[in-house]
C-alpha cells in the first residue's frame, strides 16, 4: 500500500468522526421531575436474541404508564417514558442505563431481563444512586439498595416447585439447564433441597445458550428414568428441547418436566402440543382469576392485539410501574432516597393478587403457582401457595439451605 501517499489525506478522515463524537454532546433533558412531566426510563432488549422476551415486557410497562397517565399521572404530573434498547448485550445495558440517568435524568428505570444485564447495570445504579425496577424471576443471592425486584426470587418459585414435586412423590430428578448463572444457582439450591429431603438427583446437564441439538441429552434422560425433570433452559433452546423430548416418547405422564423459564409467550413458540401436560412454576398466568388480571389482559389485548398473551415477567413489569407510582405518591416526590424509604410495605392489588414490597430486601411478596400447560397454549393453575410468600433472596429461613450463601 502506498501508505505514505494515503496517510496524508487520511488522518483527515479522523476529523469528521472525532469531531462528530467530540462536539455533539446533547443537552440533558433536565431533572426527572420538572414542569408537569416525569421522565421514566424503560430499558429492554429490542434487538438481538433477547428481544424475543423483552419486547413484551416493555409493552406491559408502557401499558402501565399509559393507564397511570389516563388516571391523572403521578403527583399530578404525566409520566413520559424514555425507551432504550439494551440490544441483548450486557455492556450496552450498562451504557444505556448511564445514559438514561445522566442524560435523560429519568426518575427511575424499569428494565432488564437476564441476570447478566442486571449485574451489568447494578454498579451503574449504585454509583449514580438511581433506581432500577427489575421484573424477572432470578437466582436470588442479591439485594442492592438501588434495585427493586418485582419478579420472584428462588423461594417464591423454585422452592415451591420443589415442594410441589416432593408432595407428588417424585423421588428422582434430572436437572437440565442452559449454561449460565440462573440455572447453575437454581440447580445448586435444588441439590441442597434434594439432599435434605431424600430426593435423588440423577443427572445435571448444561447446554450452551442457543443450543438446538438435544438428542443426546434426551437419551441421557431416557436412560436415567427420572420421576421428573427440572428445566432451567432459557429461550430458543426450550423449543428444541421440548420438540425433541416429545419425539423420544418421554411423556408428561411418565416424566413431567417442570420449567421455570417457560411462560405463555414461550409456549406459543414451542408449540403447545409439544409442551402440553408439562408443569411450569410462576407467580402469574394469563388464566389467573383476579379482577385486576381481567382488566390487565383485556387492556393488553386491546392495545397490542387479540392474539397476544400475557405472562409472568410482563405482569411483573406492569406491577413494577404501579408499585413505583404508589411509592412516589406516598413519598410525595420522585427523589430516590425518599421513594426507597416510602416503598416498604406498599401494597397493590396486582393481576397476580396482593403484592407487597418488602422494605428490607426490596423484593416483593408473591404467591407461588404451579401450572399445567394446556393444549391451547394457556396454563392452568394446579396448585398455589396459601398466600403471598415473603421474599427471602438468601434463603436464610430454610435450614437446608445453610451452605448456599
Amino acid at each position: 500500500m502506498r501508505s505514505r501517499t494515503f496517510s496524508r489525506g487520511l488522518t483527515a478522515l479522523l476529523l469528521p468522526a472525532l469531531l462528530a463524537t467530540a462536539c455533539v454532546d446533547e443537552p440533558g433533558g433536565g431533572a426527572g421531575a420538572s414542569g408537569d412531566e416525569i421522565k421514566v426510563g424503560i430499558l429492554h432488549s429490542l434487538s438481538g436474541t433477547m428481544a424475543i422476551s423483552e419486547v413484551t415486557v416493555r409493552d406491559a410497562e408502557l401499558l402501565a404508564v399509559e393507564e397511570i397517565n389516563a388516571k391523572g399521572g403521578v403527583l399530578g404530573k404525566k409520566l413520559v417514558p424514555v425507551t432504550e434498547d439494551g440490544a441483548s448485550d450486557w455492556p450496552t445495558f450498562a451504557e444505556k442505563a448511564q445514559k438514561l440517568i445522566s442524560q435523560d435524568k429519568v426518575a427511575t428505570v424499569f428494565g432488564g431481563w437476564t441476570s447478566a444485564s442486571r449485574k451489568a447495570m447494578l454498579p451503574v445504579f449504585e454509583r449514580n444512586k438511581a433506581l432500577l425496577w427489575y421484573p424477572v424471576q432470578y437466582e436470588g443471592l442479591e439485594s442492592s439498595p438501588y434495585i427493586f425486584y418485582t419478579g420472584a426470587t428462588t423461594n417464591q418459585q423454585i422452592v415451591p416447585a420443589l415442594d410441589y414435586l416432593a408432595a407428588q412423590g417424585k423421588k428422582k430428578m434430572f436437572l437440565v439447564g442452559s449454561d449460565y448463572v440462573f440455572p447453575r444457582t437454581a440447580n445448586k439450591i435444588i441439590k441442597a433441597y434434594a439432599a435434605a429431603k431424600g430426593i435423588e438427583v440423577l443427572g445435571e446437564e448444561y447446554t450452551p445458550l442457543g443450543h438446538t441439538e438435544y438428542s443426546t441429552l434426551v437419551n441421557k434422560i431416557a436412560d436415567a428414568k427420572p420421576d421428573a425433570v427440572f428445566n432451567t433452559l432459557n429461550g430458543d433452546s426450550n423449543v428444541a428441547f421440548f420438540k425433541q423430548l416429545r419425539g423420544s416418547g418421554i411423556t408428561p405422564q411418565t416424566t413431567p418436566v417442570v420449567s421455570v423459564s417457560v411462560a405463555e409467550e414461550e409456549v406459543k413458540g414451542i408449540g403447545p402440543e409439544n409442551v402440553a401436560g408439562h408443569l411450569v412454576a410462576w407467580n402469574y398466568y394469563q388464566t389467573t382469576t383476579t379482577p385486576a388480571n381481567d382488566a390487565f389482559v383485556k387492556a393488553f389485548k386491546a392495545k397490542y392485539g387479540a392474539d397476544k398473551v400475557t405472562s409472568d415477567p410482563m405482569e411483573a413489569g406492569y406491577n413494577a410501574v404501579y408499585l413505583w407510582a404508589e411509592a412516589v405518591k406516598k413519598a410525595g416526590t420522585t427523589e430516590v432516597e425518599a421513594v426507597r424509604k416510602a416503598a416498604g410495605g406498599i401494597t397493590i392489588e396486582a393481576p397476580e393478587g396482593t403484592t407487597t414490597i418488602d422494605g428490607d430486601n426490596q423484593h416483593v411478596a408473591k404467591t407461588a403457582r404451579i401450572g399445567l400447560v394446556q393444549a391451547d397454549g394457556q396454563i392452568k393453575e394446579v396448585w398455589s401457595s396459601p398466600g403471598p410468600i415473603k421474599p427471602d433472596p438468601y434463603l436464610r429461613s430454610y435450614d437446608w439451605a445453610g451452605g448456599l450463601s
Binding site: M1, S3, R4, T5, F6, S7, R8, G9, L10, T11, A12, L13, L14, L15, A17, L18, L19, A20, T21, A22, C23, D25, G28, L46, S47, T83, E84, D85, A87, S88, D89, W90, P91, T92, A94, E95, K96, Q98, K99, S102, Q103, S115, A116, K119, A120, L122, P123, V124, R127, E139, D179, Y180, V181, R184, T185, K188, Y206, P208, L209, L404
Partner: protein
C-alpha cells in the same frame, strides 16, 4: 505532508479537548470507541496489510479483558476475599489459575502475552499448513464460537455469561469519579496513539513491505527466501496483542467484560468499522471504527430496530461501491481534484 500533519494535530487537539467539553457519560462512550479503534488498528494490520481476514478477533479482545478483569477483581476483593461472582457461584477457595493475577505485573504481562501466545500457536498451526483465505476466516470464527462456550461453561472461574462487572478502581484511579474516568480515557487515547504509531512504523518498515508482499503473492515471497507462515504468524500475533490491550482497557472504561463481547457477532462487528473506514489504511480503520460505533450509539438511541438494517446495509454498500472504504473514496477524490498529480499506469 502538511495535510497529514495538520489533520494529525487537529485530531490530537480534539482528543485532548474532549475531557473538557464532554459529559462524563459521553466521554466514557468516546473512550469505548477508542478501545474499538485499537482493535481496528490490529485488524487493519492483519487483514488490510496481511490479507488475513480474522473473524475471531473478539477472542483476543476477551483474553486481554479477562486478564485485566481478574486482576481488578482480586484487587477489589483484597487479600482474603473472593471476587463477588465466585461467592454467588459457590466457589470457596481462589482457583489456582487466579492466584498469579493478584500481581499487577503478572496481570499486565498476561494482557499482552496470553492473546499473543494463543494467536502465535494458532497462527503457526494453520499458516504452516497453508490454511489461508476463507479457510482461515472460518476457522477463526469457529475459534470465537468455541472460546465463548468455554468461558461460559467455567462459571466459577470466569463468571459465566454474566462475565465480570462492578469494577471500582483501576491502578489507584477511582472509576466512579469523573476524574478517574477522565484519566482512563486519557490512557485509552494514549495507548491508541502509541499503537497507531507502532503500527505505522511496522507498516513502513521492511517487515511491513514484506507483509504486503505476502498478501499479494505468498508463493512468490517463498522464492525470495522468506517463510510467509512466519510473517503471517507474527502479524497475526501483533494484531492479537493489540486486541488484547484494547480488551484490557475496555474493562475499566465500560466496567464489564463478558462473553457477549467476544463471540462471532462482536468479532464481525469489529470488522464493520475497519471495512467502512478502509482496511488498507490505518487511519481509515481507526476513523471507521469510531464512526461506526458512534453511529451504533446514535441509532440505538433513536432508531433501535433500524441498526441491523444500517449495519448490514453499510457492509453491502461499502463492499459493492467502495471496497477500499472511505479511505479509498478520499483517495480517489484526492486523485481527481488534488493538486498532486498521480502517476497513471504507464
Amino acid at each position: 505532508m502538511t495535510w497529514g500533519r495538520i489533520s494529525l494535530v487537529v485530531c490530537v487537539v480534539l482528543l485532548a479537548l474532549a475531557p473538557l467539553t464532554l459529559s462524563p457519560f459521553r466521554l466514557g462512550l468516546l473512550a469505548k470507541y477508542l478501545c474499538f479503534a485499537i482493535v481496528a488498528v490490529g485488524i487493519a494490520l492483519a487483514w488490510g496489510q496481511g490479507g488475513m481476514l480474522t473473524l475471531g478477533q473478539g477472542v483476543f479482545f476477551g483474553l486481554g479483558g479477562y486478564a485485566m478483569a481478574m486482576y481488578l477483581k482480586l484487587e477489589e476483593a483484597g487479600s482474603a476475599g473472593l471476587p463477588d461472582f465466585m461467592v454467588w457461584s459457590g466457589v470457596e477457595e481462589l482457583p489456582a489459575l487466579w492466584k498469579p493475577f493478584g500481581n499487577p505485573v503478572f496481570a499486565l504481562a498476561a494482557v499482552v502475552l496470553v492473546p499473543g501466545l494463543v494467536a502465535f500457536l494458532l497462527g503457526l498451526l494453520v499458516f504452516r499448513q497453508r490454511v489461508r483465505g476463507a479457510y482461515f476466516a472460518i476457522l477463526s470464527q469457529a475459534l470465537a464460537a468455541a472460546f465463548v462456550i468455554l468461558l461460559v461453561g467455567q462459571q466459577g472461574l470466569t463468571g459465566g455469561t454474566n462475565g465480570m462487572t462492578n469494577f471500582t478502581g483501576f491502578f489507584g484511579l477511582d472509576l466512579t469519579d469523573p476524574n478517574g474516568q477522565r484519566a482512563v480515557y486519557a490512557i485509552a487515547a494514549l495507548v491508541l496513539g502509541v499503537l497507531f504509531l507502532v503500527a505505522k512504523l511496522l507498516v513502513r518498515s521492511r517487515f511491513g513491505r514484506l507483509l504486503v508482499a505476502v498478501r499479494d503473492g505468498e508463493d512468490r515471497v517463498r522464492f525470495l527466501g522468506y517463510d510467509p507462515a512466519l510473517v503471517k504468524t507474527i502479524t497475526f500475533t501483533v494484531s492479537a496483542v493489540m486486541a488484547g490491550l484494547a480488551g484490557a482497557l475496555f474493562v475499566p472504561v465500560v466496567g464489564i467484560i463478558s462473553p457477549a463481547m467476544l463471540g462471532i457477532v462482536p468479532s464481525l462487528e469489529l470488522l464493520v468499522g475497519v471495512a467502512v473506514g478502509g482496511r488498507f489504511v490505518l487511519a481509515g480503520a481507526i476513523a471507521g471504527a469510531i464512526a461506526v460505533n458512534y453511529a451504533k450509539t446514535l441509532f440505538s438511541e433513536d432508531f433501535a430496530e433500524g441498526w441491523l438494517y444500517l449495519q448490514g446495509g453499510l457492509f453491502v454498500l461499502v463492499l459493492v461501491f467502495a471496497p477500499k472504504g472511505l479511505a479509498g473514496v478520499v483517495e480517489s477524490v484526492r486523485e481527481r481534484f488534488g493538486r498532486k498529480p498521480v502517476e497513471v499506469t504507464a
